[in-house]
Amino acid sequence: MRDADGRGLVGVGLRSAHFPRLLGCPRTPVRWFEALSENYMDSEGRPLEVLLKIREDYPVALHGVSLSVGGVEGPRPGYLARLKRLAERAEPFLITDHLCFTGAHASNLHDLLPLPYTEEAVRVVAANVGRAQDALGRTIALENVSSYLTYPESEMAEWEFLTAVARRAGCKILLDVNNIYVSAKNHDFSAEIYIDAVPAKLVAQIHLGGYSDMGTFLFDTHSRAPTQPVWDLYRRAIRRLSGAPVLIEWDEDVPPWETLEAQAVKAAALREEALAQPA
């Protein structure tokens, strides 16, 4: 994923709106794609065909939303086997999901629900990550989620929880800079302290995305380009995390390819700029 001009680390989310364009093999500075695991693990049709075609030319990461790694019931039966089958076919350089729970087996809420930052939650997540990594035969990475509420019983800061989980579970971190910003504003903590506290060697990937300001809180909508404060945090993060692949994530109101591509170019340029500055 690294190429001569140093731009090789920036990718974008693979979205069906861009399939026709991408199948035309355009020249693009985008160097890799992230595919939503659930969109492909149950499909043998056109979506999987396109993913495997893209994979012939680009590295791919698989990003899930339903592992429910923080759920007390653990992953749903059959989920890991399906994910493994997809991974065998797509050969991703990384498999990721979210540090959250998504509901219960009998009622999947299809949301990234926040966990309390407790020792019990660390234990549950570590056990579930262990099951996932055993089933998949590889290390996965977990992403910090945006949240709109917290729990009084939390025993540590979010970044301490994220780090404790990764260390205990033996997994990596997908650091979503936008989510850090959203949660920092919502819960009144320092995003800079968070960024600086996460051990660089644990970070396997960085996400950048856009949020919506709802007036009374920030909402993680992934429906627009990253905002200036998120770019500023990214500049700070990338100096410590220069080896991590970076992804522009845009899930709602997906823009034309050129708009998405321009964000990837910007991320690559800012990375070069940040790395060129003296420490």
């Binding site: 659930e38 969109n39 693990m41 149950d42 499909s43 043998e44 049709g45 056109r46 979506p47 065909e49 339903s66 759920g71 007390v72 749903r76 989920y79 729970f101 509901g103 219960a104 087996h105 009998a106 009622s107 999947n108 809420l109 299809h110 949301d111 629900l113 966990l115 309390p116 407790t118 019990e120 939650a121 549950v124 949240s147 709109y148 509420l149 917290t150 729990y151 009084p152 019983e153 949660s183 504003k185 919502n186 819960h187 709802m214 009374t216 809180f217 920030l218 909402f219």
Partner: protein, 253 residues
Amino acid sequence: MPSPLEALQRRFVSAVAEGDGALAAAVRGGGRLSPAEAVAVYVRGYPARLTEALGETFQVCWRVLGDENFFAACRDYIAGHPSRSHNLSDYGSDFPACLGARPDSVQAPFLEDLARFEWAFKELFHKAPHDGLAAARLAAAAGPASRLRLGSASVLLALNHRVYGIWRRDRADDTPLRPRDWEGAERLLLYKAGSNPVFVRELPVPEHAALSALEKGLPLGEALAAADGLDEAGARTLFAFLAESGLIAAVAP
């Protein structure tokens, strides 16, 4: 006795899926949100996601019903049907029956059939194309006693109303539907012909009967005999289609 984490997660699921208000007492709101407002962010997101999933699968039902009626149908369906799958696109298998039982069906009695068609189309879209037998091989192998197995990427539908024309209608065509647009039964074959596009073929009653018999495992001769009204020319046309489309995946003597 559930652990603290288990109890919290149960409360969260109850709050979002069933509207139980107890969770608000156990959280702090983010931003300038009160605890109840913060919980409401998650509560609102749940039906929105499931409605979006239903809208994606049942696009034409949505168009026919209009926003207000479609969203009302979604609300009622979601209230009684939690999602049990990891995949949102699995949601809605019982939605056709739900539409059929609604008052909207008095004005548009074809809704359940239209929804059944859309669900079948979505399911087939995600199936792998099967390897169909080449025409020459099928012709050489098939005799009256042989059993022709339809490929896995195919679905036969017998509907009480004509919905394919409604489904095919141009999105921009807002001419009101009239009973003549849907009145009459319809038999359809949805299939993939060796690659991923989904094809739809309207079947005369005898062809549908013959293919249904083949699907049940009857020998070719019996399947054709079971198809009332299928004369020799019709049988030849059907066989030519089977050979050309790659619909048959295997022939057993």
